[in-house]
């Protein structure tokens, strides 16, 4: 039988996700060319298609994630990142 996460652990995890989400959005913000999409940002927001971030700048975004969260993100992991949710999941996975 799987142990269900306690309510307290769930709350902590939700809080951490929210915090990472906000930091991810903050890091992306200077690169965003579609401000309207930024105003309605969610996990499913596509970084290139919706926010119109120049694809070359993803390199700088990933470096900023590494600095902000004190993690290392291998290049192969970056290729799978398309949405804000992907970024958040990647950062949370690296944070353990």
């Amino acid at each position: 039988m799987l142990e269900r996460p306690s309510r307290r652990r769930r709350e902590k995890s939700d809080m951490q996700r929210k915090e990472v989400f906000e930091k991810v959005v903050k890091i992306l913000t200077p690169h965003v060319k579609n401000q309207a999409a930024l105003a309605q940002v969610s996990d499913s927001t596509h970084i290139l298609d919706d926010l119109k971030v120049n694809s070359a700048r993803l390199v700088d975004v990933v470096l900023a994630f590494e600095d902000e969260f004190d993690i290392e993100i291998p290049d192969e992991d970056v290729d799978a990142v398309n949405t804000i949710g992907d970024c958040v999941n990647l950062v949370l996975a690296k944070l353990g």
Partner: protein, 428 residues
């Protein structure tokens, strides 16, 4: 096809002023932009003064997007600010972000002498040496590629004609104007943004310091350090900034009712081939005379018609020879020499930007009918003393001035010269 070329827009970021209005005021007052430089002091330079534009980060932050600013070193910031000012001064509308239209009729020749040396020295070399190449991110190439300055501006203004960066050391700025004008004359473009930019970095200036061509004798009196034509000149003062001119075919300018600052009557480019006294670092005087003569011929005027000369005049030992070359090329001896000034006396030598900033100054002087003081030249070099009457130490009114000539001479023995005529409806 040969079309007339006029100047409809000007923009400037200079050590003594940012923007046209304050720059003209600074010229008239003889305001110096030379200050002590902390980096040069810290690094043990012989010369510890420089001409660095002030307050440009705040101007850039107000004018450009955050994403763009992350990829703009000092030469990009100066060039973009000057280009934007020139564009607006020409009465053109800044394209909105998201507007997908391209201006196929407008291009740019925006040069630089040394390029993104600050990016190379402060980012690329240390990170690569530390084995941290990955940390360079995506913005290193666009900031150190030679064409970075023109590429940056083309994106900001949606330029669709030829966009390139020229480089011919200290003749870069004047050369850019000659190159852009040629394209308009041939009917290949209606408008060209022409000029040059140079970043502010002691890494750019270090090699000049070790050559002992920078001024070392006035570190405690920065405003006296840049001394073209002076007996006590001891080398040039390095500087930074950008100047941009909007060159336009007369037809295009008239069709849109643009205000015209001046006409670019003619220009010429050549090289001395490192012969006849010329070398990598010294100009062949015959080439200098030929270049000025060819520009006059291209303009269809005689040397006798010239009212104002804004020389290259760097405050090195080359100034007396330069004055001799001007005298020979114009056919004007000391008694009849036109007013002679040197913008470097106020801003130092801004290298790849020098010709461009000084062409902006020349057009402003012509349109405003004045010559700015040639600062720090009270003790004229003995070989130049005979020309004393031509050299203003205060603002000089030139109410009848019609023709001004500006030249730039660069390492590599390269020369560029441009002839401007004050815009006058009667002469048009």
């Amino acid at each position: 096809m040969t079309r007339r070329v006029v100047i409809t827009g000007l923009g400037v970021v200079a050590p003594n002023a940012n923007g046209l209005a304050d720059f003209e005021l600074a010229l008239r007052k003889g305001r110096s932009g030379i200050r002590r430089n902390a980096e040069m002091e810290k690094c043990g330079f012989g010369c510890r003064v420089a001409g660095v534009p002030q307050g440009t980060d705040a101007l850039a932050e107000a004018a450009f997007d955050a994403d763009e600013l992350l990829a703009m070193n000092s030469s990009h910031r100066y060039c973009s600010l000057a280009a934007l000012e020139a564009w607006l001064d020409a009465g053109l509308v800044r394209p909105e972000r998201g507007d997908d239209r391209v201006d196929w009729e407008t291009g740019a020749v925006l040069g630089t002498g040394i390029g993104g040396m600050d990016t190379v020295a402060e980012k690329i070399v240390p990170l690569v040496n530390e084995g941290r190449v990955r940390r360079l991110g995506s913005t290193a190439v666009e900031q150190c590629m030679a064409s970075g300055v023109s590429a940056r501006v083309s994106g900001q203004l949606a330029l669709g004609n030829q966009v390139t960066t020229n480089s011919s050391a200290c003749s870069t700025g004047v050369e850019a104007i000659a190159m852009g004008a040629e394209r308009i004359r041939r009917g290949l473009a209606s408008r060209m943004l022409c000029g040059g930019a140079e970043g502010a970095s002691h890494y750019i200036w270090a090699g000049f310091d070790s050559m002992r061509v920078l001024c070392r004798g006035f570190n405690d009196e920065p405003e006296k350090a840049s001394r073209p034509l002076s007996a006590s000149a001891g080398g040039f003062v390095p500087g930074a900034g950008a100047g941009v001119l909007v060159l336009e075919s007369l037809e295009s300018a008239r069709a849109r009712g643009a205000r015209i600052h001046a006409e670019l009557l003619g220009s010429a480019l050549n090289c001395g081939g490192h012969r006849g006294g010329g070398s990598m670092t010294a100009p062949n005087p015959t080439a200098v005379r030929r270049c000025v003569g060819a520009a006059l011929a291209d303009a269809g005027i005689d040397g006798a018609a010239v009212d104002l000369v804004n020389g290259h005049l760097t405050a090195t030992g080359a100034d007396p020879s330069e004055v001799g070359s001007w005298s020979a090329a114009l056919g004007r001896g000391p008694a009849s020499f036109p007013t002679l000034t040197a913008t470097k006396s106020l801003i130092g030598h801004t290298l790849g930007a020098a010709g461009a900033i000084e062409c902006v100054a020349t057009v402003l002087m012509l349109a405003g009918r004045f010559a700015h003081p040639c600062r720090n030249s009270e003790d004229l070099h003995p070989e130049i003393e005979a020309f004393a009457a031509a050299i203003p130490h205060e603002e000089r009114e030139l109410s009848e001035a019609t023709i001004a000539v500006k030249a730039g001479f660069g390492f590599g023995d390269v020369n560029a010269c441009a002839v401007f005529r004050r815009w006058d409806a009667r002469a048009a």
